[in-house]
């Protein structure tokens, strides 16, 4: 069986290693690249110190790198404010995915609110800008919200445009299960389509079959077109006890020729946890992109990006 051959390059960006503002104390999660003429901008999500109850809020930001992956600069302000009292994004804007639309930039992000019976709920918001440094929310409410078959935890948006159609890949919760009395969310990979990037029609379909059973959680559907095929890299974990190595996140793979029907083939993915170091317990939130005629992957390691994100470079062909 042929496999992808990724060469790991190590941790690339950790806010702790830079003189970052208080709101960017730690974490660099869900990296997402926007290409510019002479640099790449990597959007990611970060957190200030937790509050007195140990609870975090999350912001989204960016760091710019040159084509040798040297850091150029870090955003001075969050790219989005937290939401108004009682709204869906009052306690966090994480993760974010940005796309160009002619002269504008569209940002899709998950907004976080806090609930009583479960720790949180999320829905996908939408913001626009003429400058990719900060974004204006189009409304105080979400663009993609709960629906009959997607009852909660709508998150992890990744926007793509193929053949003049916008495809929003995201996740939707199916169950909250109790792990030693603590509610843990189960979510699956979903998709919606749009002609204008604003009005979306949900496919109402789980795109990727389960490997670990009904309570497998799947996240970060990152779709990349190459060699006549759509390739999806995503992450998945067990339903319970997933914060360590045993049931923690791993990176999975699927491909498709029509974006609707996907063939899962994790054996092809060619990247796993390391024996030691920053990504020895889990690897998650893959983002695949091309630069300098090579395919690269950004991803998170242990503690889902608490120490930032790292990268790997593909040494063989993505077929």
């Amino acid at each position: 069986m042929k496999k992808l051959n990724w060469i790991k390059k190590g941790l690339l960006f950790n806010p702790k290693e830079h003189n970052t503002p208080l709101w960017m104390n730690e974490f660099a999660q869900a990296p997402h690249v926007l290409h510019f003429q002479d640099f790449i901008r990597v959007y990611f999500s970060c957190r200030p110190c937790p509050d007195a109850n140990g609870q975090y809020v999350s912001y989204s930001a960016y760091a710019d790198f040159d084509f040798d992956f040297k850091l150029i600069s870090i955003s001075e302000h969050p790219i989005l404010p937290l939401g108004q009292l009682g709204t869906f994004d009052e306690f966090g804007t994480y993760p974010v995915s940005v796309i160009r639309n002619e002269d504008q930039y569209y940002a899709y992000y998950a907004g976080w609110t806090r609930c009583e019976s479960v720790p949180f709920n999320t829905a996908i918001g939408f913001a626009k800008s003429n400058h990719p440094d900060s974004f204006n929310k189009v409304g105080d409410g979400p663009l993609i919200s709960y629906s009959v078959d997607e009852p909660f935890v709508i998150s992890g948006p990744k926007i793509r445009k193929f053949n003049d159609i916008y495809y929003l890949f995201y996740i939707a919760g199916t169950d909250w299960i109790l792990d030693n009395g603590k509610p843990e969310p189960i979510y699956k990979i979903r998709m919606a389509e749009s002609k204008d990037g604003i009005h979306f029609i949900k496919a109402n379909k789980q795109l990727i079959e389960n490997k670990l059973g009904e309570y497998e959680a799947q996240a970060s559907p990152d779709v990349f077109y190459k060699n006549g095929k759509y390739h999806m890299f995503f992450c998945y974990r067990g339903g319970a006890n997933y914060r360590g190595k045993e049931n923690g996140y791993r990176i999975g793979y699927a491909n498709s020729i029509d974006l609707v029907n996907w063939n899962r083939n994790d054996d092809y993915v060619g990247i796993d946890v390391s024996d030691e170091g920053w990504d020895s317990e889990m690897i998650s939130y893959p983002h695949v992109f091309e630069l300098n005629n090579k395919v690269h992957m950004f991803y998170l390691g242990n503690q889902v990006g608490k120490q930032g994100f790292g990268w790997a470079t593909l040494e063989n062909e993505l077929l």
Binding site: G86, C115, S117, G141, S147
Partner: protein, 321 residues
Amino acid sequence: MIWKKKGKFFDPTIDKLANHIVEFAQSPQTIVFDDFIRVYFSTRTRDEKGAYLSHIAYIDVDLNFERIIDFSKKEVIGLGHLGTFDEHGIFPISPFKDEDKLYAFTCGWNRRISVPVETGIGLAISNDNGATFQRIGKGPILASSLLESVLVGDGFVQKYEEIYHMWYIFGTKWIPETENEPVARVYKICHATSTDMINWTKEEGKQIISDILNENECQALPTVIKIKDTYHMYFCFREATDFRKNPERGYRLGYATSKDLINWNRDDEKGGLFKSQKVSDWDSEMMCYPHIFTANEKVFLLYNGNEFGKFGFGVAELISE
């Protein structure tokens, strides 16, 4: 509109119908069958922490709305799953008969941390003539959206010329707490249409009933009936704060008419239903949660009185337009 108030009809604190009902019979809404009227309402029990949980119950009433002939003996619809939009209660429930099928539009409640609650509208179907309803899925058919940012609820549906029309409410904002007042919500009446009752086209943040108090007026529970060529809407409205104990700021009934289902003319005076002037009356401080319907060629309006229906609901009959 000239109404004859017929007084309080049902009081759950007196009429012990089913064991789990302790108090409240809120937002009565009906399905008219051939030989009786079924009135669904929200009642409450308390959980182990003492917080209220809303449940749905019903009573069956004769076609002249004079006497109770039966009542619900089992759970009409249960609470939602962990983490879902209707996990902590359904209030209100709006039954809807479409040809021979029975549906219910539910307003589900889910508790939040920074504000008390978020809501959404669900759809359930009955296969046993309205004794029980089953959800079509775990999630809502209508939820918050870009310009209807919070608190979508209170759906009421009618079918006119093969189009389903839903009137419902959305929250425009939460007002932060002050020294004297907890966080307060502001919500307005709006409209959506559908051809299948599941997929709805919103007007996205369009308030269809003008405010008469101020921009923080709260408008709730629209109910619509067509009489001849005019659509009549009743609803309730109040100030955003200090509305619970202060009758000057609490719920009363509003009224609007439309010829085209697009433009509505508000004229509460013409609605003809006002709080009782007699202090001891059950509806002297508050009137809320109206529901209008026809039975036996008569038009009735059910509503709650003082304390949001803690002591049940009453009925009025339309005498002339």
